[in-house]
């Protein structure tokens, strides 16, 4: 994981369960809105992650900036899904502006490394594994690798 994700993980790992819930809700509240240019695609059902119980839409982009490739992450999670908003929000926080290589290196057992597996229970972790796999695949495709 990159430095920002490590920072988030350390913070989550250092607090008891009740505060973990508060921290996660804070991430959910900070979830950035979907840019207008993606609204139509979302409304048409594009970008939907079907592996997840909640409605999650991902629109990863890879752009060139000063000769380097940069990942831009946009997502939308309509409805009441604070858990997915928190987890996807953490991914956006840590990887929006990262390199495609950094995204490819996100650990597949991220939730365990974040120390929130017990809070979520096994079924929800599988849902998130689908989100993560979709994100990595989407970025790899956009990066043309």
């Amino acid at each position: 994981m990159n430095a920002r994700l490590q920072e988030i993980a350390d913070e989550l790992a250092s607090v008891p369960r009740d505060l973990q819930v508060e921290l996660l809700l804070e991430h959910a509240r900070q979830f950035p809105p979907l840019p207008d240019r993606y609204q139509a695609a979302r409304d048409a059902g594009l970008g939907r992650v079907h592996e997840c119980q909640a409605e999650v839409y991902f629109f990863p982009e890879v752009t060139e900036a000063e000769g380097a490739r940069v990942v831009r992450l946009h997502a939308d999670i309509p409805g009441h899904a604070p858990t997915q908003r928190a987890l996807v929000g953490i991914l956006i926080d840590a990887y929006d502006g990262a390199t495609p290589g950094e995204v490819a290196a996100i650990p597949d057992d991220l939730l365990r490394q974040l120390g929130v597996s017990q809070l979520l229970g096994p079924q929800r972790q599988r849902g998130f594994a689908g989100v993560l796999a979709r994100l990595k695949h989407g970025v790899a495709e956009a990066a043309g690798s």
Partner: protein, 293 residues
Amino acid sequence: MSEYAHPEVLVSTDWVAKHLADTERVRVIESNEDVLLYATGHLHNAVHVDWQTDLQDPDVRDYIGQKPFEALCSRLGIRPDTTLVFYGDKSNWWATYAFWTFKMFGHADCRVMDGGRAKWEAEGRTLTTEVPKYDSTDYSAEKPDPSIRAFRDDVLAHMQDGGALVDVRSPAEYIGEISHAPHDPASEAALRAGHIPGASNVPWSRAANADGTFKSREDLEAIYLEEQDLDPKAETIAYCRIGERSSHTWFVLKYLLGFKDVRNYDGSWTEWGNLVGVPVEKGEPDDDGDLDD
């Protein structure tokens, strides 16, 4: 409008609003698919029970045992004579799962708030983030009641006897095009796709209205009795993928339509579709009115 078979088990948002302060006799319990939803705001005085982290054994694929269940109830200040009211997200999908679990441990007075969270919020009623604290009790539970739970051998025998089975998954899962729910991770898939031979297919959500409430008795009878030809006097088993969607249908059949003997098969497709040697059927239901009318 005819009444449900057991109308006392379903309470309105109004009824709950009037009883929220009666914490001595009533405990309101929120159970959601989303584990953080309760913390974003819940009914005043309501406690949180999570279907996975509170009700499932962390190691064995099973519900928690009698002792952990007693500890859970004691921690929530519940006594055997407490009226429990369950509500939650997604048309009370997980609220009925929790209801079923509490019934399995023999809790006498369990109810469901019709419409769940969505209806409460749509009516502009108050939510709070304050978590109530209740004095611990010394709850003693019954041994788990197997009469509402079906195990794989029961299901196999039931199937061989031509017993009624209701598969509440999506048509695509039932037909066998896919072995996991369209919105679920493939890692929860079974090795085989299809359904238990002889099962009808009634997706669980057909029992709910758009606002999350249960459909009227007439509408439910039209689906389960007329269209699917199920007999309320016959032993019936409901199943889905892991037994949560089918808790909702179990509740509908048993309490709203008065089926005499209905069980939930919580092993469901993730067990059946991975068992060696059990029969699997694919394709559309062959004799049900809904596909050939």
